[in-house]
């Protein structure tokens, strides 16, 4: 210890004293990650967006998801729904199977469908018919107290109701206003949108599925991937707008067209057309730039005795990647087709369409008397990249995801035991991780909290509005 306590020497500090000691004390990377990310302990950490209040007058998946992203990161999100009805998405469930009751106080026999899952987590549920003149005051007061709003009505609707950016900017110049919808301004301004329209109109569906010569048709993804994707793109816009506001103090209007957003994921499509007049085509489970780099069908299912058809019939696909010369040679040796290697020694040659047809046919021919697991094991033992195409059950069983907390059970305060995957699949953060407090709440569940406790309306007024179905 030095005499002068203000002096600080390395030897006196706790921790390693030399580079060698440092290396000895350092945890293995794996342990370090487990410690800093600590899946399951998210709730004890701070939230990055705490202090941000966002209004969500959104429906379905696309715009709601843009806001759910904020709520998972700690923003206080108020979802404003139609009185007694709620978001239309609450009335959808895959094959009409799964509902959670109740939807609303007055409708004990109506439930909220699983279609609503993951797009509205952690939000407060307010009901309000904001287009009524009587409710304008409450709506404007919410605007003044919030940082932003996301809406999804036809372009100009909020303008007609005097609550578009032009109006709210006067109430709150720091306000960030998001319109998210189908086409945006332009010749098709009044077209609404769904995910399927985004996939179709943006040109995405035309390059999904098998090529025409294999009998393929344009295909939409079974899930609404463009809704989820576009919503996330809006969230980026919001975070950038918040950063800009921190610098300038001013709000922003974000106008986000879903059909436009989906063109971004088309990669080389437009530049290629612009240069040569070539139209990108579907290429199914293979790859246009790399070969071998695709999904093949194996002869036997891994679970021939399962009851679930997804296991019994479908557990037969494996993805294989061996596009480097060395890997491709190894692959050809495994499947005992060395002549295929001599024929397509250069990647330039094997990536050609005709070559791919040839190569994948040989691969599937080799796999036709093997199960998926056998194919994976054989190729992996040769050091090649090969993984089974997993279904939901296998994702649930996957030890990798359990370790990382990607898929996990949670106790929803209202609905009990729920298996969730959305929040925790969107990346880990050591300091301010995403988290899920509740999956959703019934329509108007937070009316008293917002109208009475936050805006200060007397309970009698809240009750009166409720009886008139204004809220």
């Amino acid at each position: 210890m030095t005499k002068d306590l203000r002096e600080c020497r390395l030897e006196d500090l706790p921790g390693p004293k030399s580079k060698q000691e440092l290396d000895e004390m350092r945890m293995p990377y794996e342990d370090y990650c487990k410690a800093v990310f600590a899946p399951g302990h998210e709730m004890s950490k701070p939230e990055a967006l705490k202090g941000i209040r966002w209004l969500s007058t959104t429906m379905y998946i696309f715009t709601p998801h843009s806001v759910a992203n904020l709520a998972e990161l700690g923003a206080e999100v108020i979802k404003v729904e139609m009185p007694r009805m709620g978001d239309p998405m609450k009335h959808t469930s895959p094959f009409n199977e799964a509902y959670l009751y109740p939807l609303h106080d007055t409708r004990p026999m109506t439930g909220t469908g699983y279609g609503f899952t993951s797009a509205n987590v952690n939000e407060y549920y307010l009901s309000m018919d904001y287009h009524l003149p009587e409710m304008k005051e409450a709506f404007y007061r919410l605007i003044k107290m919030s940082d932003g709003l996301t809406e999804c009505y036809r372009p100009g609707t909020f303008d007609r109701w005097k609550q578009s950016y032009r109006f709210v900017q006067e109430l709150n110049p720091r306000f960030i206003y998001v319109w998210g919808g189908g086409f945006g301004y332009g010749p098709k301004c009044f077209g609404g949108s769904y995910d399927i329209l985004g996939q179709a109109h943006a040109g995405l569906a035309s390059v999904t599925g098998m090529h025409e010569f294999m009998g393929g048709h344009c295909t939409k993804h079974s899930n609404w991937c463009i809704d989820w994707y576009s919503g996330t793109q809006i969230t980026f816009g919001i975070l950038a707008a918040l950063h800009w506001r921190a610098k300038t103090g001013l709000g922003t209007m974000i106008e986000f067209s879903q059909v436009q957003a989906a063109t971004r994921v088309l990669g080389h499509a437009a530049p290629m057309y612009g240069r040569f007049g070539i139209v990108r085509q579907r290429w199914g489970n293979w790859d246009t730039q790399l070969c071998v780099h695709g999904i093949i069908l194996c002869g036997k299912s891994d679970f021939p005795d399962a009851i679930n058809p997804q296991d019994k019939f479908e557990a037969r696909y494996a993805m294989v990647s061996a596009f480097q010369d060395k890997d491709f040679k190894a692959l050809c040796d495994v499947i005992k087709k060395p002549d295929m290697y001599s024929k397509y020694m250069k990647h330039k040659d094997r990536v050609e369409g005709e070559a791919q047809v040839d190569i994948y046919a040989e691969l599937e021919d080799w796999a036709k008397d093997k199960s998926r697991a056998e194919v994976v094991r054989i190729l992996q033992s040769e050091g090649l990249l090969c993984e089974p195409v997993m279904n939901d059950r296998e994702v649930y069983e996957s030890e990798h995801y359990r370790t990382r907390g990607t898929v996990r059970w949670m106790e929803d305060p209202l609905f009990g035991d729920v298996l969730v995957q959305g929040t925790y699949s969107a990346g880990l953060m050591s300091q301010t991780p995403r988290r899920q407090y509740w999956i959703w709440r019934p329509v108007g569940a937070d009316n008293v909290k917002i109208y009475h406790e936050m805006l200060g309306y007397p309970i009698s007024t809240v009750k009166e509005w409720y009886d008139k179905a204004w809220i």
């Binding site: 090529h211 010569f213 290629m272 057309y273 040569f276 007049g277 070539i278 139209v279 990108r280 085509q281 579907r282 290429w283 246009t288 369409g353 005709e354």
Partner: protein, 78 residues
């Protein structure tokens, strides 16, 4: 309904895909042309169709103003 009597599959297909345009391209005699069909308002007006061979599996837009007279992969349609 299209009368199939006496037509080869290819001749039948040509009737189904009745083209919008006429031109001097040799592509009209080629197996690999996929024509813009009659009455299409989409795609752009300045192509006669798509070549399914040259950039296969991608399709190449065959422009009407740039007449293809000679082609290294031309194949007489059957």
């Amino acid at each position: 309904m299209i009368e199939a009597k006496g037509l080869t599959p290819r001749q039948f297909l040509d009737k189904v895909l009745e083209p919008e345009k006429e031109s001097d391209h040799i592509c009209w005699q080629c197996e690999f042309l996929k024509p813009v069909i009659k009455g299409s308002s989409f795609p752009p007006a300045d192509i006669i169709g798509w070549c399914m061979k040259i950039h296969w599996p991608y399709y190449w837009c065959v422009a009407d103003f740039n007449v293809v007279k000679k082609c290294y992969v031309f194949k007489q349609k059957g």
